[in-house]
Amino acid sequence: MNPDRRTLLKLAGGAGLASLTPLLPAWAQSGSAGIAPTLPTLSGADIALTVGHTPFSVGGRNGHAVTVNGTLPAPLLRLREGQTARLSVANTLDEDTSIHWHGILLPFQMDGVPGVSFPGIRPRETFVYEFPVRQAGTYWYHSHSGLQEAMGHFGPIIIDPTAPDPVAYDREHVLILSDWSFLHPHEILRRLKASPGYFNRQRTTVAGLLSGDDRMSAEERRMWAGMRMDPRDILDVSASTYTYLINGHGPSENWTGLFRPGERVRLRIINAAAMTIFNFRIPGLPMTVVQADGENVRPVETDEFQISVAETYDVIVQPTEDRAFTIVAEAMDRSGMGRATLAPRLGMTADVPPLREVPNLTMRDMGMDMGSMAGMTGMDHGGMDHGGGMNMRDPALAPPNMAVGVGVQSISPMAENRLSERPTGLENVDHRVLVYTDLVALNPNRDTRPPSRTMQIHLTGNMERFMWGFDGRRFSELVEPIRFAPNERVRVTLVNDTMMSHPIHLHGHFFELVNGHPGNQPLKHTVNVAPGGRVSFDLTADNPGDWAFHCHLLMHMHAGMFNVVTIRPLDEAAS
């Protein structure tokens, strides 16, 4: 059966989804046959977008969303490499709004960050973005004003290449992952400031100790407690308030994308969540990763990968059986999951696997070497929280430009390169897991110069006060920008002094992840820095102007983990 679009709409109505239909763009409607030219995506030279308030329902509850063109997620923008994009954005809200084109290389004044690239879009005003499209791949767009992104103001972008696509596929689907709460994001942040563990319902307990379910000894607990650190602090906001959405559908709405057995299906997966890092898998279906952050990589087959906030991955799956497959986007803290289905026909479902056990953080997530810890634990537990090399907040380990104040709870004594390690919670799963060292750029890197200098930036925080920053400072403290000269080649090392993962995003550029593949280092716009770990990237600062640089966990950014990158002097022609 090959349902045409009319059949699909009928099916959608018949399945009782009629009430949802107006709030979802066609590509995101359940039963989508995939992205095809017949579906109403927004493309062409002139695209009109309107930001406004829209009611949103999921799981039988009604809430209030901030949307683009009245849908959550926002319309799919389908552009073509080489065209000029002209996007007029009208603001019908009573507050400022903006759209940032995430991962897109463009002139800085079109990047859409109020206070960095432009003033923002005032209520009842329209701003026209115009820029040449210089790249291809899967990207996305979202508000950079306040916390609107957390309320639904995000959508996918696909840019078709001018050259033949090296990735062959018969059908494609976009899967945009997000986290929805009926609490206003400002209220979520307020509760985190008042009580940092507010949303965590998976902490260690006496019951878990006695039953063994916590998988942690009394002695280990004592050690964590002595440090005032929570080994279950995996994500700040959990399923206790979030419903995880795939294409705007909750798990019970079960978004379904169609395929015909034997087809090569391209899935363009975007993590547009505000605060949720997902572990993504399709039980029974191996995935071949072909693109990361919009840039092609050498195909690599895997069974599961972690997608941090704001990253994108394109994978090819080739289901041959006439059966349904469950798409699982499990929150990294295992408190809940987004669920969708790939099926030959609408209405077919597959088993939904149960949530797996909550991961426990380890000393390695505090930037402390595991081997020597084991020895130390055996000999002298007291040494852990005060004493010598194991001091978890030794200002001597901080670079001279770092402010070691109230906002710095810990400084990783031995932050390691963890790019070859499996991400949090996937260390011991019984199948293949993608790691960052598996990513190899398909095309050779264009800039082969060695870096002319290095730079270190510490990711710092105090989880007890929910303070976050770079080098110990919140952006609000009037920090110095990070300065580059045009075309400067710099190796930037991010050192994670905290026990949380931070997806760090640089606007207007790709950086090359230094992951052991010189000459073919993968290009990324966002990189997840593992707890207590370090990540280096090589940057060619080839886009003069001012650019936002921040943690893409929205509440971390809002709490101060943000800075501006300036590239000077500006091109004379631009001014």
Partner: protein, 299 residues
């Protein structure tokens, strides 16, 4: 039991990484040992070819401070930059913490007690308001106090607080200057210690600590202790110099939500030293045991 746990811990800790490496053998995960050294920074001394960590070239400081000023009205941009600054770190917010709001029963006397705090402000500077007190349902408020404090975060876990306290008792009122420390001690103890100087020149102090023992995710046992001290006798309040009062209690709460948790508990309070003598000479019982029933709330 302790011996068993101590023996087990190093084993657990060594098993974990070994298990991770086992798996890496049959997946794409490269073994940790082959971690590329490319990220070596000069002072780590791994990579001789890497240039030094130096500041940006002088040219990088050229041009306008804000590039967008070339395209948009600089006054409008300046406003947007200030908004950006506020939206990325300057979170001004508030919380109301009803730690205890309870009915008490002691030797047939039914009463009530409360301990409420609220704050408003940013990460470092806050206005803090605290109130606690108790009374009998068929009598007067025995003791009620209200504090207005300025609170400043001075370490990652502790706030320094100073301000005034107004205390009402049937025997009279007092106004104190307050200087205190409030925060989170190792092992997750919430502590609060204050020194008070009254308008009569009396010096007193109080320290309290509480701990949340999570039995399950929602059932939480909270032991709580409090010690009061005085530098001098204050006969009108039956307070003697030295340690004046010790209080210990435990409350078992059930968190229906994080914001609302009813509890039951028991609390023992005993007067000490000269205070004890004062109370006994008044013909009162220096020790009290109370059963409490209340609710903890967070707004």
């Amino acid at each position: 039991m302790k011996v068993f746990v101590t023996a087990l811990t190093p084993i657990l800790l060594t098993i974990a990484p070994a298990a991770a490496q086992d798996h890496s053998a049959h997946t794409q995960t490269s073994p940790t040992q082959t971690t590329p050294a490319e990220d070596a920074v000069p002072h780590a001394g791994h990579d001789m070819q890497m240039p030094s960590e130096s500041s940006s070239p002088a040219a990088a400081g050229d041009g306008p401070a804000s590039a967008a000023d070339l395209y948009f009205d600089p006054i409008v941009m300046a406003r947007a930059r200030e908004q950006l600054r506020i939206e990325n770190g300057e979170v001004i917010t508030h919380a109301v913490i009803v730690d205890r709001l309870e009915a008490t029963s002691s030797d047939g006397v039914e009463g009530y007690a409360w301990d409420v705090q609220a704050w408003y402000g940013g990460d470092i500077n806050r206005l803090w308001w605290k109130s606690e007190g108790e009374g009998a349902f068929d009598g007067d408020v025995e003791h009620a106090e209200l504090q207005f404090l300025y609170s400043r975060a001075v370490t990652p876990y502790f706030n320094l607080q100073g301000g005034v306290r107004q205390t009402s008792r049937p025997a009279g009122d007092r106004t104190d200057l307050v200087l205190g420390i409030q925060g989170l001690a190792p092992y997750w103890f919430e502590v609060d210690g204050d020194v008070f100087v009254s308008n009569e020149g009396e010096l007193t102090a109080r320290a309290q600590a509480e701990y949340d023992l999570r039995l399950t995710q929602r059932l939480i046992l909270q032991p709580r202790g409090e010690v009061s001290l005085s530098a001098q006798d204050i006969p009108e309040f039956a307070i003697g110099s030295g340690v004046t009062n010790v209080l210990v209690g435990a409350r078992l709460r059930y968190e229906i939500t994080r914001s609302f948790a009813p509890y039951v508990g028991v609390e023992w309070s005993g007067a000490v030293g000269d205070t004890r003598n004062f109370i006994q000479s008044n013909g009162d019982d220096p020790n009290t045991t109370r059963v409490v029933l209340g609710v903890r709330a967070l707004f």
